[in-house]
């Protein structure tokens, strides 16, 4: 037996125009949790896809238990005992959870799918994950986080020897992350080797024993987690030092900008009230499915609330659709950048200027030179890693896509900025930049609402924290009274906790 269950050497992968991986290597020991880290666009996800046979590497070789292997497609990898949870959910929205879990390896007797058995098995897996939905639920009706759980259940269902998790915690809050840690621990005890990609350092410290770092498509090094300092690791990842991760400036609060009173939408949220002042950052947090996204979407006119009032600078406003909100200066950075934030097949430049083209148009016709200039400026301001403004958004890594969404919001006049999970899947370097942008905006006197599931981010950036649970606001904390424990307590208030107890 070789020392490594999985070993890759000299892997090079080229996409038209980009070298995504340049002669990288990787070794996975049996029964270890190995973190893979690096900037957005470093090539982590691509590397995973090379392992599982989704992409074919131009150069390099791969050894499984010392044997050279050559996967023709994902099926081969699956057969060899490798299961992967990809970064972007690869689920079937129209099918049930059970089917999503068992797609490709359904329980078959006499060539017939055994639905009952499959549902039972799926529920068992979901039970392990403490999921609060049934296996017969339709995938499309679940929240992003719930879908992520299904993806994990899917990986578990194959009884794989190697499990790869590509940013599984990006959409998860603290509570669900804990659940995931428990599962990973459990898997490791059973002798499964795990590759874990995350931009959250707490994940790595909690789980991994070794960490491999990629930067700019290249292999930088592999370190033992307890032997490397945080600062060194960050330096390895971004190539420079980051002094202050949460550059929250002290800003003199101004006038009240946005006030929401008794906002309700049947089935989504009820009686939500809060306010934001100029220069203030309000953190809106809660567990997955608490209804945060729905609240801000109602404020911005994506959906219409059934009850409640919204005030801007003390004046009641009636917003019927997103364009009304924009005209009044309320901007939303949507949660799902691929479906709601960007036009993936379009160039970056056009994406950035999409909602503001008419502002610099001449007599209804586009002023393209000006658009290009503006796009370049904004994209550089948020430090997007891109070659030119014409390359399609789909060719960027997740974090860089998020930066384009930020750039797009910056393209217009605004008073209130609502950011829904702005750093989901964004690397430390870029995160720091996004935080810096937020700080700048606050300094300029904008009111900011930050929705986030990441505790350090909420604690580090917010002036005040609004906590939601199950569609209701359960509390509001000032910066100095907020602690992880307090927030979690509010996020799992009453009904929620008793329901949990009842189930387990």
């Amino acid at each position: 037996m070789s020392e490594y269950v999985l070993e890759l050497k000299g892997i090079t992968k080229i996409f038209p125009g980009v070298k995504a991986l340049n002669n990288v290597q990787f070794q996975l020991k049996p029964g270890e949790v190995h973190a893979l880290m690096g900037e957005n666009g470093a090539g982590k996800s691509t590397f995973i896809k090379v392992i599982t046979g989704v992409h074919k590497a131009e150069e390099g070789e791969m050894f499984l238990n010392g044997q050279k292997v050559d996967f023709k497609g994902p099926k081969d990898a699956q057969a060899a005992g490798i299961a992967a949870v990809y970064q972007h959910p690869t689920s079937y929205p129209h099918l049930t959870v059970a089917e999503n879990i068992f797609m490709g390896h359904e329980i078959i007797v006499h060539k017939m799918i055994q639905w009952k058995k499959m549902n039972e098995e799926a529920n068992k897996l979901l039970g392990q994950l403490n999921a609060d939905f049934d296996a017969t639920a339709e995938m499309g009706t679940l929240s992003v986080a719930q879908q992520q759980m299904v993806e994990i259940a899917k990986a578990l269902s194959t009884n794989a020897k190697i499990v790869i998790l590509d940013e599984p915690t990006a959409a998860l809050t603290k509570r669900e992350s804990e659940e995931l840690y428990r599962i990973v621990d459990h898997l490791r005890e059973e002798g499964v080797s795990i590759i874990f990609i995350s931009h959250r350092f707490e994940d790595m410290y909690r789980l991994a024993s070794r960490v491999t770092v990629f930067r700019d498509s290249q292999y930088i090094g592999t370190y033992n987690v307890d032997e490397i300092t945080n600062a060194d690791l960050i330096k390895a990842m971004v190539g420079r030092e980051i002094k202050d991760l949460f550059p929250k400036p002290e800003v003199q609060l101004g006038e009240e900008m946005l006030r929401v009173e008794g906002l309700s939408r049947v089935g989504y949220f009820k009686n939500v009230s809060f306010d934001v002042h100029a220069g203030e950052i309000i953190g809106l947090t809660g567990l997955v499915g608490a209804g945060r996204t729905e609240v801000v979407e109602s404020i911005c006119g994506i959906t219409t609330p059934d009850e409640g009032k919204v005030y801007l600078e003390g004046q009641e406003i009636h917003i019927k659709q997103p364009s009304d909100a924009m005209k009044k200066g309320i901007i939303l950075l949507p949660e799902d950048r691929q479906k709601e934030g960007l036009i993936m097949s379009w160039g970056l430049g056009r994406n950035v200027t999409l909602s503001t083209i008419s502002q610099y148009a001449k007599k209804g016709f586009n002023n393209e030179p000006k658009e290009r200039e503006l796009a370049k400026q904004l994209l550089e301001e948020v430090d997007t890693k891109a070659v030119d403004i014409f390359q399609p958004a789909s060719s960027l890594s997740g974090g860089n896509q998020q930066k384009v969404v930020v750039a797009k919001a910056l393209s217009q006049e605004m008073k209130v900025v609502i950011m829904d999970e702005p750093t989901k899947g964004v690397d430390v370097g870029a995160k720091a930049e996004i935080y810096a942008i937020m700080g700048d905006l606050a300094k300029k006197g904008y009111a900011i609402v930050l929705i986030s599931s990441e505790m350090p981010e909420i604690l580090g950036m917010s002036d005040r924290i609004v906590v939601m649970c199950n569609g209701r606001k359960t509390g509001e904390l000032n910066k100095d009274e907020a602690t992880q424990e307090r927030i979690l307590e509010l996020a799992m208030e009453k009904g929620q906790t008793s329901k949990e107890a009842g189930r387990s």
């Binding site: 994902p74 079937y92 089917e99 797609m103």
Partner: protein
């Protein structure tokens, strides 16, 4: 508790709403013309709509992967005309052979269509629009530029549509058989589920090792085979083969599926839905002359009815969704 939730599931489903609409339609038509509900009359209706009903199954598969096929009635004409001419000039006499040939021609057509769509990534509506012209033209060529094969020329083949087994017409048996087979195929087999998977999220299907291209090819082949079957049924039921038969009929098949809740963007739709959808259309077609609507008005009313059915379905669905939300505890 459990029972209640299954009941809720049934009443909340699209198919249930459709069934309600169908029953409503039946009730109205029967009230005006009581003879409508006689078994014989219903059998006639099934037999006369066999082609649409059977082909709706193929269209279901095609639409599930997010495709569409408007070449099907040309395929039908080509396969039907081919066996018509073969029978007419005595090259074949056996009914079974005629069916096999019709299916084979349909399969070949479907294969071509599927190949162009899955391998050359031509958008389905364009590819099938092209093939609609091509196959129809081939149908004309086969017919020596417009010969018909009438009842006398078809020999014993046409008897298929008049024979019955266990008191039920053979054509109706074909419908039943097709629906039963597809019901099992779509719900209980791995291949059937792959069709749903590809339609629901093609890139996910690719990643999980499903050969998306082959599945796409397969659905068009299924559609082709059923179009071939449709050709044989058409020739048998009406005892005549004409090169321009069923021109424009593809829209009925598509309408049947859409009414039956099959999504045009893929992923959603069931065999039961296709059945209900095509039954609703069949009922409309049969009822219009029966309830005494003037000939000039029949088309308009048919259009309005289709529109009303799909709109009512949307409204009912909205109400159901809203009620489900109201029931959610907070």
């Amino acid at each position: 508790m459990k029972q209640k939730s299954t009941l809720k599931k049934i009443t909340g489903s699209r198919e249930f709403l459709l069934a309600v609409i169908l029953i409503l339609l039946f009730a109205i038509v029967t009230a005006i013309s009581p003879s409508f509900l006689k078994p014989k009359s219903l059998m006639d209706m099934l037999k006369n709509n066999a082609v649409t009903m059977v082909m709706a199954l193929g269209m279901l598969c095609v639409m599930l992967v997010g495709g569409i096929d408007i070449s099907i009635m040309s395929t039908l004409a080509l396969s039907g005309m081919s066996i018509g001419m073969l029978l007419k000039y005595g090259h074949i006499t056996s009914t079974i052979l005629a069916f096999v040939i019709a299916l084979a021609i349909g399969l070949a057509c479907g294969f071509l269509v599927g190949l162009v769509i899955s391998r050359a990534s031509v958008p389905p509506i364009i590819a099938t629009m092209g093939f609609m012209y091509v196959f129809r033209a081939l149908g004309y060529l086969v017919s020596n530029n417009g010969e018909w094969a009438g009842a006398a020329a078809l020999g014993s083949f046409k008897n298929f549509a008049t024979s019955s087994v266990l008191g039920i017409n053979a054509v109706v048996w074909v419908i039943i058989l097709c629906y039963v087979v597809f019901f099992f195929f779509m719900k209980w087999t791995r291949t059937g589920r792959k069709i749903y998977a590809v339609g629901s999220n093609p890139s996910a299907a690719e990643v999980s090792g499903i050969n998306v291209k082959n599945i796409k090819l397969m659905v068009y082949m299924i559609m082709g085979v059923l179009a071939g079957l449709g050709g044989a049924l058409q020739v048998s039921v009406y005892a005549s083969a004409m090169p321009d038969m069923q021109q424009g009929g593809e829209m009925d098949v598509i309408a049947a599926c859409v009414i039956g809740g099959v999504s045009m963007s893929g992923g959603r739709g069931t065999v039961l839905g296709a059945l209900l959808g095509s039954l609703i259309l069949a009922t409309i077609a049969k009822a219009l002359p029966l309830v005494g609507i003037g000939a000039l008005w029949q088309n308009t009313i048919k259009g309005v009815l289709i529109l009303v059915v799909v709109m009512v379905n949307v409204i009912l669905q909205r109400i159901a969704d809203r009620n489900a939300l109201k029931g959610r505890e907070m």
